[in-house]
Every structure is written in C-alpha cells, then in structure tokens.
Symmetry: D2
Subunit: 286 residues, 4 copies
C-alpha cells in the first residue's frame, strides 16, 4: 500500500442542504479520511465555504478531481484540490525597505513557510540587499519610473509567467500596480499595507497616524485589487504607541507589525485557509 498523502480541498458554492454530506460521501467513497474540516455559510450572500484536509492511501488526486468535476456543476461549486506535499511557487516584490523580505527569507529558510520562492523582483539594485543571502533565488532588478511603467510591468508579467509563480507578494513594494496587472493577478497577489485599514489609506500612513494622534498603529495584509487599499483584508494587527513616539518610531514599530502580519498571512494562504468572498475574505484559522 502506498504511503498516505495529504490533500486540501477548498470549495465555495450557493448554500443549500446536503453539501457537506455530498462532499464527505465522495471522499469516503474514495477511501479518504477527513482530518480537518471547516465551513462557513454567509447568511448575507447565501454563499457556502468549506476547507477540508484529508488523507488518501488509495487514490491520487486525479480520481478525486474527476468525481468532483462530476457533481460540482449541479452545486454551482468552485473548488481547488492541492497535494499538500507540493509547495506553492511564490514571487516576492520589494522596494528599498527590506524588513519584510528579510523576514520572509528567514522564515522560509528555517521551514516556517512551505513554499518555493521562484524569484525576487526589486525596483532597486541588488546591492540594496547585500546583507541578505538569496540562496540561489533568482533576483531581478526592474527599475521603474512613470515613463517605463508599462514596459516594466510587461517584464514583471513575463517573469511571473516564466517562473510559474502562483502567488505574488508585495513585500513592501512601493509601486502601485496598474489596473491591468492587478486584474490579471486577482486572488493571487497579496500586499502588506503599513496602516490599520481603512484608516490612513494612501501615502505615508505612519505620518498620517502621527498627525492624527492615534494610540494604536497597525498593518494590514490584503489581496491586491484595482481599487487601491480597498482589496479584501486577510489579516491585521496593531501595537500601542504614545504621544512620545515620533513618525520614525511609528515606522520602526510598524516594521514589526508588518512583517508578522505578512508572515501569518503567507502561512494562512499557503495552507489554503484564505478564500475570497466578494470584497471580503473567509479565513479558516486552525
């Protein structure tokens, strides 16, 4: 008998009776043992979401896929099925500040983030990151200004396609993606914004926060959409600040928030725990 493999199934569809039974029957009929299951019915939109982790010794994912293809249409169900042993391919984009990049590389190196980093794209030259060990990850320097933006995004898209990147992470990449690129990457491009959205959208959020005199600052990881800083929120966190903290202090404290929010978001995403629900997300925590 072959060794057990673990698979993750996510699905969403209009809510109705019998979905859980239909899916769990299908898995049971294929000798799959469910080891984790979470579900959510959105009473407002009438939409149902589910995430299942199961073990299978008998069948590969293809047999399961065929079965799912069979009954998914009748349930108007969208689904994904992933072999948990297959790592997602991820591309990291970065600008001058490299704390999120450095932190992501470190966590990836020690095994906290099960992914293959297929490339790092920066609009600053590699010397900017000379203290980081890229460990053989391809580095691409794609400078950009107003005139070269279309061309640079074409290069970027080409790198994404060639590398087979399934997820693009704006790890403090300080360029606004064009609507075209944002659309193309819908649902698979994550940004870490350095404010507690929806507060302080736009530029220099820590300076905005300092001016307003808030007592907590935050960071927000969200899917990138064409509407800047309005994408579905995946994760947020905050830290306490005081009147004595300068904008530079907020930036420093914010670095810690940004990198841990991004790290949590990546772990959630890589474990298929983040599902899109219109302009919001369903996040199945463990």
């Amino acid at each position: 008998m072959s060794a057990a493999g673990q698979f993750v199934l996510t699905l969403s569809c209009p809510d109705r009776a019998g979905i859980v039974a239909a899916v769990s029957n299908h898995l049971a009929a294929n000798q799959c043992n469910i080891v984790e299951a979470q579900q959510f019915g959105d009473a407002e939109t009438g939409r149902f979401f589910m995430r299942l982790v199961f073990e299978s010794t008998q069948h590969g994912p293809e047999a399961l896929r065929t079965g799912l293809d069979g009954f998914a249409p009748s349930l108007k169900m969208q689904w994904t099925l992933r072999d948990r042993s297959q790592r997602r391919r991820v591309m990291l984009l970065v600008s001058k500040f490299d704390h999120c990049l450095a932190d992501t590389l470190y966590r990836w190196r020690i095994g906290e983030l099960p992914m293959d980093i297929v490339g790092v794209v920066a609009n600053h030259p590699i010397e900017t990151y000379r203290h980081l060990d890229f460990d053989g990850i391809p580095f691409h320097y794609l400078p950009v200004d107003r005139d070269s933006k279309v061309q640079q995004e074409a290069q970027l898209w080409s790198l994404i396609e060639q590398s087979g990147a399934e997820l693009v992470v704006l790890a403090r990449y300080m360029q606004v993606l064009s609507s075209e690129l944002a659309d193309r990457l819908a649902g698979r491009c994550i940004n870490i914004h350095h404010s507690f959205l929806p507060g302080f959208k736009g530029a220099r959020p820590y300076h905005q926060a300092h001016r307003r005199g808030v007592k907590l600052i935050g960071a927000t990881a969200h899917f990138v959409t064409t509407d800047l800083d309005e994408g579905p929120i995946i994760e947020q966190d905050i830290e306490r600040v005081t009147h004595a903290d300068t904008p530079d202090d907020l930036i420093r404290i914010g670095r810690d928030i940004e990198r841990r929010v991004l790290a949590r978001t990546l772990r959630l995403y890589l474990d298929d725990r983040v599902l899109l629900n219109g302009s919001k997300t369903v996040v199945f925590h463990s």
Copy 2:
C-alpha cells in the same frame, strides 16, 4: 412544514477513517442541514473530537438520538445533542468580591449569555450584593467555616440537584470544593482563577505576581478538579503591568481580566464549544 430548529451535536471517540462521513450521512439521511462543523484529531492520544450545528425541519432530536445510539457503540463514541433553543441551567457561586457576578448578571440580562440562572449561592449575606438586581433569581446564603464545610456542601449539592443546575460557576467563590463535590461536578463546574496558570497557584496570586515582578498578569478559567488549580484550562487572558503597579493595582486590573475571561468561557461553554480531552480542553472557536 414545521419551523427549523437548530441542534448542536458534540462527540469524541478514538480516531479512525470514516467518522465524519458516518455522522454527516446520518444527519443527511434525517434531512438535517449542517451549518457549522469543527473537528480535531489529537495525534498524541489518538482521540477525535467534533462539533456540529445543524438545522432540522423534519425530525425532532429523539429520532436522531436513536440513530446515534445505534452506531455510537461501534465507534466507541461519546456524544451530546442539544436543542439550541433550550437554555442551559446555571448556578453561580460567589464570595465577597462581586465583579464577576455583577458582570455575569449584566451580560445575562442583555442577552449575551443564553442561560437560565437557577440560583446564586454566596457565603456572604445578601446585603453584600445590595446594589445588584437579582431579578427574581433565588439567592442562597450558605456561610461556611472549617467545622461546617461538610454540611454546607451538602446544602449546596442539594440546591444544585433541586434546581436542576447543569453548570456550576465559581464566580470568585473563594472556597475550595471538597474532592467529593469536585468529583461529582466533574466537567460541569468552572472556576475563574485570578492568575495566569500555572504561574501563581494558591492564595493571593496578585501579591505573588507583584513579589515576582512580572510584567504581565492574567486570569484563567478552568474546569474544577480535585487537584486545586490543575483543572483543564478553557480560556486565559492577560494585561500589561509595570513596576509602578501596587498589589492593589494588580487586583484592580485583574478584575477586568477575570470578568472578561469568565464571560468568554461561559459563551463558549453555553454554545457547546468546550470539550474535555483528559487534563486539557478542546475549544472550538467560531
């Protein structure tokens, strides 16, 4: 057609393939629609835990019970099934400090805690709580000292039985239950301890914390067992303190932690989200 009723099923059993399918099939066969499901397999003990919320228009819980009785033995499954519209009967025990009692009464009154309070038992007279509106809840003054403890606990047990209390809450009740009573109430008696267990067991934990110079203090809700302050932990929380905080400050700050930890614990318990797992708990958060 009768109106839909919601039911909560919790179960635990040795882990094996097919449990989820068996249960969800049984529910589907009885025209029940699962609206919430959570599960956990404890890899260390090989034990499986599940909580399901379902809607049923066709069958009362008795039909379901019969079916569950049928296949539960073969799975060595323990289970509970509750009509969500039926409120749990709860008895509150309190000593001199009434912040947990006052808070619980307030939350109950405005509908945050779906339960019937069948009695308040105190080892201080009712004048101690003269600012509280008991709203018709029976109040029992059961003073206790070393000599009268056996007799007082007999009275207490009698009140629990007569009132049909399903849950007993030690809302800062500063008497240690005898092993006999703790055993009798196993799994249905919750205490709020005023420290971040396992730190500072025993008496005067805030004074202990002050002496040790900790920078965070906490509170812990746990099931009462015969082993003092060692019962399965359900919920904990903390607050930051400084060198400038006196023991009295810690007590004050602690009051806030205690009452919110107890309130969260009650909500979790009343919604059948807390399952015993040996000396630990499984807590299915929403």
Copy 3:
C-alpha cells in the same frame, strides 16, 4: 505637624531650558516632595508638558498657587493644581444602550473611579435603566428630537452649571452636540466612539466594519470638538474578529472594548494624566 496632602500639578508652555529646575525649585522651596514626575517636549510644536505629583505637609495649595502665578507668565505657562483628595465632579450622558453607564457606575461604586457623579442625563426615561442602582445620583430625562434640540441643550447646560460638573462623559450618548455646546465644553467633554478612529466615522460603525471585512474592531475615547469624530484621541483598544462574526457579534464584542476604553480614559483623566496638545493629547501613563 499636619498630615501630608498630595497634589497634582500639570503644566504646558513653550519649551526652553530651565523649566524643570524652576518648577522643582519652587516646590522644594515650599517643602514639597515630588513623588511622581513626567514630562514631554513636543519637537514639532516646541511645546513642553509636565505632570508632577507632590506631597506637602507645610503649605496648602494656595501658597503654591501664588508662587506659580508669579513665574508662570514669564514662561507663558498654563497650569492646573489639584488637591488629590478632592474628587472631580462628573456628569454622565447616556442613550438607550447602558453598558458603559452600568460599567462606570459599578467601577465608581467599588472605588475604581475616584469621582463624584453629580448627575445622569438620558434621552430615554428612567425605566430604560430600571436594573441599575443609581444610588441617589440625580437622574434627568431630557428627551430630544430635531425640533427640541436647542431647548434640550439649554436644559443640559443648565444642569451642568448647577451641578458644578467639571467633566461631561458621553457614555454612548447617541446625540451629536451642537457646535455651541461642544465649544463650551472644550477640554472637559469625553466621548466613547464605537470604532477604531479614524476608521468608520459616523453612524453604525460596526456595520461599516462588517461590510469592509476588517479582522480587528476597536473603540476610541476622545475629547468632543465641533468636528464630529475628529477630537483629540485619548485612548483606543481593539479585539480580533473573524468572517463568522455578524454585525450583532461586532456590537457585542465592541461593548467590551467600549467600556474598558472608557474606564481607562476616566482613570487617566481623573488622575490629571491627560493634557491637550492642539488636536492631539499627551497621556502620561503610570
């Protein structure tokens, strides 16, 4: 020798060398022993803030006041001096939801909030709060609608004046004060807003938060100004929420945040720890 009295001195003035020495000399010359001191120089505005707690056995505050009057003008210093044993007079305003009111009354009763509550004003009749024990605090029912607003605020102002209220607390009072009244109460009227400002200003913030799909919700205590929800922020806090939380869940979770943020704010204010700094605050934590 007379018993020691404790006094709190707060001051703000343009920053320059020698302020601390001038003030501490003055206190030392008057046989006052400084037991707590905090200061802040705002590098942006060039303004200096200080809070001192001192003990005096020899002089009453009047002698100190005279001395401060003497050198304050040369430093362009604004200052307050309060005998710590004299409780502030506070008026509470409330609408239908009474969780902040109930909590404030409880904390006041057990001695957490050293203040005299000189009245409760509500735009709902006293029956709304029938479970609360007002303990002799005058209750004033001042209903209000669009037509009666001017008249109602006149009554309110009259109550504030007659009662000698030094602080007015909008404890979930759901009426917007007129610019005139907000101006009159500048620096001594605190509101608890049920969102993490500057996010979700205006009406129904928890519904706004639910619609945006945030993962944290918050509450904000701020001074009331003529610019709605833009007053200087004193204190904020948050709680984590999930996709499964409905607007009603957010409202419930928010109640806990609101009441603890308001309680902290009151303690800070009553201990002269909150100083105005233009559109921001300086908050000297212990």
Copy 4:
C-alpha cells in the same frame, strides 16, 4: 559654542524629600536642560529611582560627574551617567537556534539597536549560521560539554574582558552559566527564556506548556542570576494558542515572541531605561 550633547543619568537611593530638586538644581547649575525625566518611589522598599535625559552645550560629562560625586554620598545615591552618542559594547551568545541572533543582527544593521556588537560566541561552529552576514563581527566558537565547562567559561570571560563588552546577551544560548560567571555578570547579562515565567521553568518549556494545555504562551527577558530562571524580569509578551497547536507550533509561535521580547529589552537597556530593584526591575518606558 559647541554642539549640544545628550546624556542619560540614572540613579537610585533611599527615598527622601528633595532628591529631585537637588539633582535638577545641579543640572541647571551646569547649564543642562532636562528633556526627559522619570522617577519611581518604591513604597515597599523605600527606594527611589530616577532617569534623566539632558542636553548640555557647556560641560562635558566629567564636570557633572565631579558634582554628582560630591553630593551622591550624602544621599547614599548610586548613579550612572552616559553620553548618549557613545554606543554600548554588547556580546551575543547563541546556540543552535539562531532566530534571536538573526533578528538582533538585522535590527542592529538597520539602526534600531544603537550598540556595537563586539563579538558573537556560539557553542556551535560558524557553519551553523552560514546564512547570516556577521559583517565583520568577531565570531568565537566555544564548544562545551560537562568536562570542559570550567575551561570554556574561562575563555568566555576572557573574551568578555578583552572585548570590553558591557552587556552580555544570551540570545537563546542553551547553556546554564555557572554561579561564578552569573555573579561576575550581575546586572549586565540578559537572557531570553522561552516561557512566560514563572510558569514552565527549566527545560523544554513549550513541551511543558503543551502538556498543561495553556491557551497563551509567552517569553521572558530577565537578568541572569545564580538562581536559574529567577532573575529580575525586564519584559514579557504572549501569543494565543489553541488545542490544535502541537509542541512544534508552540516553538514556531514562540520564536516570534522571543525575538520581539528580546529586541524590546535591548532597546530599553541600551537607552538606560532598565534599573535593578532587588529581585525586580524598574523599567522606564517612553
């Protein structure tokens, strides 16, 4: 006139009237402008603590030292005076797990931690840390086992002396210092312990925490004393965990807590904000 320099003065002495005035007078007499001041009187021990930041254009620290030497004895005052532009010399000790080391190096590199790292000492060879850029910091491999401990500590002490290290940081250095070395480094050796002390002292605290079923785990930075895990606590923090988290999950989550607690502790220490108060600390937050 020479450019302004900033100095930090810390002091502790038996509490009595006039200390603040004496010190601030001395500074004023030397044309020093106090820009930050914090104090604490420990009512239990009768001890007084103070931290002052001041600017001086006229005098170097030597003139001030002479003055302080003059009146310190009469107040039984211990004091330190540091030119803020002079960075502390710090030695980092590490074992196999390098997350605290990597994080400290990163923060030091980008300017978050104003210190000179005079050496890294490890009981594992440099290859263990091959992904880290030591940037010219001397690396010392000092392996240790039971037989070689005395000799290894002699080498370690020699390195501390030769490098002029003022602070020694056990950045997840998994060796217990001998009492002799702990004594020698009293007040200038900081350890990061991977539990929320006083819970889970000793070995494998995350496994202990998992076994106990706690709902929060933590980390603690403390001064090293001869009494293991009993040294004065400087800073602590926690994260929420659930029944589903394995010991490995706790270790992963703990890494984040450990490194941020250590980083905060270093910033506090390097800014002279941490004062010893017997078996406790006074920590003057900004």
